[in-house]
């Protein structure tokens, strides 16, 4: 197979409610199978166990929905993005939806290494006082540092959450709770999760749901 004709496409997609409990590996398999059903000329790795050349921007934690995730796929033969969108429309399972597709330069570094920040909309079923919540947010943003600990692979590690919170806002609220919007640092320099922020705001043990609304590259 000649390398000349290869094409790299970046698919932005949404992962809905019905699929929110599937893991990142499951999602990758679901994409591979959907692309195969769509008859897309995916490039495969060489070797005994050929793998499709696909790279996701960032793993989405189990339980989150998302509106603008990204995956780069490498094709053996070029395909018009619109054509791919049409084919995928009938090959993707309910819960996966294409938002946009664009061609990107073959030489760009791996998508994963380009992600700088992630944006989230978090709904919390907390029905306390609005002014109180606003004050907690203001306090968090005003803190020079927010020392925390996380356990990774059984080892405790101290880190500072504050520089990882790039933005945090109270969007709206109703009888069921409040909606927060946040932009958190992602990738080199540290990655924060919405749970860390909720925890710091004192919103522990309240049901919440997270939608990732964007990845900044």
């Amino acid at each position: 197979m000649t390398q000349m004709n290869r094409q790299r496409l970046r698919i932005t997609f949404a992962k809905g409610e019905t699929l929110k409990y599937i893991s990142h590996l499951d999602l990758a398999r679901a994409w591979e199978r959907a692309l195969r059903r769509a008859g897309v000329p995916l490039a495969y790795s060489q070797g005994f166990n050929p793998r499709p050349k696909m790279a996701f921007a960032a793993a989405l934690p189990v339980g989150y929905t998302a509106t603008a995730e990204m995956v780069d796929i490498l094709l053996e033969k070029p395909l018009v993005p619109l054509e791919l969108a049409h084919r995928l429309a009938v090959a993707l399972p309910p819960g996966l939806q294409v938002v946009s597709i664009k061609e990107v330069d073959l030489g760009l570094p791996a998508l994963q290494s380009q992600v700088r920040a992630a944006e989230y909309r978090v709904s919390v079923a907390w029905t306390g006082d609005r002014a109180d919540l606003e004050a907690r947010i203001a306090a968090l943003l005003a803190s020079p540092t927010l020392p925390r600990e996380r356990v990774r692979k059984g080892r405790r590690r101290a880190y500072d959450l504050r520089p990882l919170v790039e933005d945090l806002k109270l969007e709206d609220g109703d009888a069921a709770g409040y909606r927060l919007w946040m932009r958190l640092h992602h990738g080199a320099g540290g990655t924060a999760r919405p749970e860390d922020v909720l925890d710091t705001l004192g919103l522990v043990d309240v049901p919440f749901s997270v939608e990732r609304t964007g990845l900044r590259v």
Binding site: M1, E17, T18, L19, Y21, I22, S23, L25, D26, L27, R29, A30, E32, R33, A34, L35, R36, R37, G39, P41, L42, Y44, F48, N49, P50, P52, V62, G63, E76, A91, P93, P94, G95, P207, S209
Partner: protein
């Protein structure tokens, strides 16, 4: 009432692999609930990853959902964490497609793959909020039916089921659903429906039979109590296999066999005496090359699977297997499609075949000599010689495989320590050979299972091996098979004892199963959950002796609890085979010529000419 997302959101984040419980898979079928006449939920009494690998359930799912008046949904056994969470939140067991509680379906159809799932059946009924005992379910739906290989002796489950399907389910399932439709329409009582079901060939309604026992505990007679129930229930077969399902449901989570499947043949002619499947799926029915190729093409397009398994009890024996594999490899090089054959014979042809479909991947090959000595292989009618095995292993090592797996059984009828010693010798030879080819990278994995006598086989009269003998034989294997380049694995002997007792049990064991489940038994096939003491207490409390069921030699004259289930292979043929086994006489593969198993007279068999 459907189980809401909001309710599930309370528990799913707290359990392992939550995507097992949310459905929505590609090719799953969600019909309009109010638009169909009869609703069936297909249940599998083990976790999703196991149940989703079961082709039988998928076949029925496909057939029923093609009917406009019916729907079929699925449910699998929730793992223990999900079970606890559901009970805590008061969520009943629900179907994956529409998330309706099982109690709202008309028919609950369990696949019964084997005995160690029985406690899960009760647990699933209970989690669905249904009484586990059929008599206590009264007039209320759903009707609870069972199918699958476990029904060749379903007596231990008689108390819990309304009906069993014996044999191939493809046609019967629709006949049953039609009977249910008529019953619903006419407002018939359940007793009337059950009698109607008993009139369908291949359907066994246990409550319409009465079992009498001798003083020594053996069965005296099993007799129907109404004219609709036939004294013998003849196994249903489809004389020709209908087109295989191609819209296979594609799971999101990684399941045991995460691949597309085409059944290239049903039934087997080899006649291995220990093998229940080989006896209860006769006659041999093969799909043609073109039919298989058409099915694979549709599966590839409609599932996106990157691997296809060509399944049957003896895939390498399909007359067109080589062409099949060659053609598939030629057609699907890009994107690559992996081909797998779950069962290889011990011959160099199989190795050549594996070279074709494994290509350079060479992940490993499995062969099943079953017994170590020629004498014992003759007893079980595994007509393979030591030379065959060594030549096959050599072909595999020479072909580039570094890893092979050998599968043996211990506790076979007439087995002595010498036969087990022969396993050690054989493994040593294969190991030495592997090292000549691949040095330190060579690996011979030896997997040993306890032989369990099963109903409707020539060894149905034979006792399960005693515990002391078993430990001595295992000890011999553990002493002899160790060191670099070999690995031995075996199954826990206690689960074998339970499996053996349940396999050849009678109706009285229903009380034991009920009690054990109440006492916490579930997932008995999972070593981390199997609790022998629970079962021991249950047997004791019911005054029944597990050894009497598992380790008693039966006589030809004894009425066996499954004698009223006419599997098609005659009891006299099985007895004959048992006697030949004890004398070390083999019986040829009946592909080469009919050996008179009785099927020709009962169900019909093309091979009998």
């Amino acid at each position: 009432m459907q189980i809401s997302n909001r309710l599930l959101d309370r528990i799913l984040p707290t359990v392992t692999m939550p995507a097992r419980y949310t459905g929505g898979e590609w090719n799953s079928v969600v019909k309009d609930w109010d638009d169909v006449q009869v609703k069936l939920v297909l249940a599998y009494p083990d976790v999703y990853q196991v149940g989703m690998s079961n082709l039988g359930l998928m076949i029925l799912y496909d057939i029923v959902n093609r009917q406009p008046g019916f729907l079929a949904e699925r449910v699998y056994a929730p793992w223990v964490d999900m079970d606890a969470a559901m009970r805590r939140e008061g969520i009943p067991l629900y179907s994956l497609e529409s998330r309706h509680p099982l109690g709202e379906f008309d028919v609950l159809g369990f696949t019964l793959p084997y005995e160690l799932n029985f406690s899960n059946v009760l647990n699933m009924l209970n989690l669905a909020g249904l009484p586990v005992l059929a008599v206590e379910r009264g007039e209320d739906w759903p009707l609870v039916i069972g199918g699958g290989v476990g029904t060749v002796n379903a007596e231990p489950l008689a108390d819990f089921f309304d009906a069993f399907v014996i044999g191939d389910g493809e046609e019967v399932i629709l006949e049953i659903l039609n009977a249910c439709a008529r019953a619903k329409e006419s407002g018939a009582r359940k007793s009337e429906l059950l009698r109607a079901l008993a009139g369908i060939p291949g359907v066994y309604v246990p409550s319409l039979y009465q079992v009498a026992y001798h003083d020594d505990g053996t069965v005296a007679a099993i007799t129907p109590t109404t004219p609709e129930a036939s004294p013998r229930i003849v196994r249903r077969i489809v004389p020709q296999l209908p087109p295989p399902p191609v819209d296979l449901v594609v799971p999101y989570v990684k399941v045991i066999h995460d691949r597309g499947m085409v059944e290239i043949a049903r039934g087997c002619t080899a006649g291995c005496r220990f093998c229940q499947a080989g006896m209860v799926y006769r006659p041999l029915r093969e799909r043609s090359l073109s039919e298989v190729l058409t099915a694979v093409e549709a599966i590839v397009q409609r599932t996106g699977y990157e691997e296809i398994a060509l399944v049957s009890l003896n895939s390498a024996s399909h007359p067109q297997i080589e062409e099949m594999v060659r053609e598939l490899i030629a057609r699907y090089s890009h994107p690559p499609l992996a081909i797998s054959l779950p069962s290889l014979r011990i011959d160099t042809f199989s190795v050549r075949l594996a070279e074709l479909f494994q290509g350079r991947r060479k992940t490993g090959l499995t062969f099943a000599p079953e017994a170590g000595s020629q004498r014992l292989r003759d007893v079980i009618n595994k007509r393979v010689t030591e030379e065959d095995l060594l030549a096959t292993a050599e072909a595999a090592f020479a072909g580039g495989w570094q890893r092979i797996k050998l599968y043996f059984m211990i506790g076979l009828p007439t087995e002595t320590l010498d036969d087990v010693g022969a396993i050690v010798e054989l493994v040593r030879e294969v190991r030495a050979m592997s090292r000549r080819y691949h040095g330190r990278r060579a690996q011979v994995n030896v997997s040993v299972a306890t032989f369990i006598p099963k109903p409707h086989t020539p060894f149905q009269w034979s006792p399960l091996v005693g515990e002391d003998d078993l430990s001595a034989r295992l000890a011999l294997l553990r002493r002899g098979i160790k060191g670099r380049g070999v690995r031995l694995s075996w199954h826990a002997p206690r689960t074998s004892l339970l499996e053996a007792a349940l396999a050849r049990g009678d109706r009285r064991l229903g009380r034991v199963i009920h009690r054990a489940w109440q006492d916490g038994a579930r997932f008995d096939a999972w070593p981390e959950h199997f609790d022998w003491e629970v079962w021991q207490r249950a047997f004791a409390a019911e005054g029944l002796d597990v050894d009497w069921y598992a380790r008693r030699e039966r006589s030809f004259a004894e009425v066996l609890p499954w004698d009223h289930i006419e599997n098609g292979v005659s009891k006299s043929f099985l007895w004959d085979e048992y006697q030949r086994a004890l004398h070390g006489e083999t019986t040829p593969d009946c592909r080469l010529g009919c050996v008179g198993c009785g099927l020709a007279e009962t169900l019909g068999c093309e091979g009998a000419g």
